[in-house]
Symmetry: C2
Subunit: 333 residues, 2 copies
Amino acid sequence: MVDSTEAVPPGTGPPEVNTKDEDSAVQHRAFVEALIPKFKLERLLNQALLVIERAALPSKPNVVSQFLEHIHTTTNLGANDIYHWYMANHRSQSTTLSPGSPSDLKLNLIYPCTEKHIRKYSAQRIHMVHETSQIYSKHISPFIDRERSSGRLNWMYNIIEGRSEQEDVILRSHEVSKAEEGFLLLPDLNWDRETIDALHLLAIVERRDIASLRDLQKQHVDWLRTMQKKVLQATVDLYGDRGIEEDGLKLYVHYHPTYYHFHIHVVNVMLEAGSTQAVGKAFGLENLISQLELMGGGPSNGFAELTLTYGLGEESELWRKIFKPLKEGKLMP
Amino acid sequence: MVDSTEAVPPGTGPPEVNTKDEDSAVQHRAFVEALIPKFKLERLLNQALLVIERAALPSKPNVVSQFLEHIHTTTNLGANDIYHWYMANHRSQSTTLSPGSPSDLKLNLIYPCTEKHIRKYSAQRIHMVHETSQIYSKHISPFIDRERSSGRLNWMYNIIEGRSEQEDVILRSHEVSKAEEGFLLLPDLNWDRETIDALHLLAIVERRDIASLRDLQKQHVDWLRTMQKKVLQATVDLYGDRGIEEDGLKLYVHYHPTYYHFHIHVVNVMLEAGSTQAVGKAFGLENLISQLELMGGGPSNGFAELTLTYGLGEESELWRKIFKPLKEGKLMP
């Protein structure tokens, strides 16, 4: 908290500003400028009385090249197929790093990468699109089926069946009599696997019949509640000794997800919300359950009926193959 | 895009890592370290092959004090009651600012501030809570009524009725014959009012009978659609010449909102998603409309029936007055 009582006695405000009066505007500016350096740090707030935004990361080619040259102390976190994760440090020319300093960079290396990866990560314009139930059933659902049958989920099935990446499986919950409720906990790509305030896990269900939230129906409400309870409990069992409680965890799912096999994101509520939690992309699991319960119709009614609105990059397959042709009238809804 | 073909011939990967074998792990690390400085900048991606996270803002008292001493060129953006907004620059000791440089800081000053403001902005633990329909009707709805009747919305009514802050009103849409569809567009507190990629407006409806999304019912579907259309159109009319199109805008509402008078957030989809767009807090307007449509029951059925799950800081009134006593069994649900 910043205490300004030294600079301004309580009850007096900044001089009145009359925007039509240049003199008083100048006076006011002088008053504020004089006030700020006199703020006395009393205790630290999250960010508010003084909101400070950092400059963007370097983007000029020569600055980026310089930046890359000073990355060092790379530590491997793990790998899966073409995806490799590292912690690293960046040394600016003027400072030397004391041994044992915490890493200040996280690197995600995709090697070898394809044109599709490059498109996904390229700076690109984003369009909001409306995926109606009609567009879903006619265009999106077949697209998802093609994705699923093309072998792109094999790496996921390999993990579920214990054939690969077992060193990354944090927990496997499986009862033979309740195969439907089996799931695995893995660290999310974006978690450094250490910082508990940034905890980010994925709960991957064993059942294979749910490609995305579009497949969730009223009949899944009990199953979803059970999964929610089990995932929360498992996470608390694992990280309770590091301060994690059930009401300190946020559960959500993505639409569209990165891969079409149902999985739940589990994050520490203290984690700063970024694009992974953005409205339009992320749906709170418990809000989804409540929404399903209140839907009209029978047990097979569900999210296939919704209109979902979300942003798509111009380089994404969904934009190029479906929504761009729809917008241009080259494809019928 | 970062091209690594100089460092690694296509088709060859990093050496296999056997985590049990220290030597090969060291070899692998050396390989990666050698690789990174040789990355050649080809074109810039959004962030992915190399995810770089900045260090946090200063929090040590002496560093913060130093930081504050170097804030200058403060420019007033506007004010409303106790809230004042400024753009400013920060001069580190080693650099001099060339005239006309863009501002690199935005300051929100609350003066004079109350204990409630201090609580709101204090670093605090967050709890996920489940607001059931029962908790809503028994505890939250009366809380909202008290907030609304305590005069805390007077500043909002003053704006709507044209008595104050008119210089901030970007647009007023009002047809006498359709009073229900009237709304005002204002800049959000977090927008610098210049950067079009960060465009963030608030559409404040003129009608006063909707305190929050909890009051939205099936009978409001047509009205919501009309508002959505009008708000999008108005924003494109205003900013179309700066590149804004309808499908470049994201509309959402907050629950809980900062004040209990229905308003819609309008942001550029290019704006990096932060806590204002976080799942649990932000609800896409069009998804809400679709959800209402598919709800069972008659026209007065609506979001009062939902269970809503969201995070609350320990210093918030809702936590201290309602959810903490509920958790401790001192209040009945």
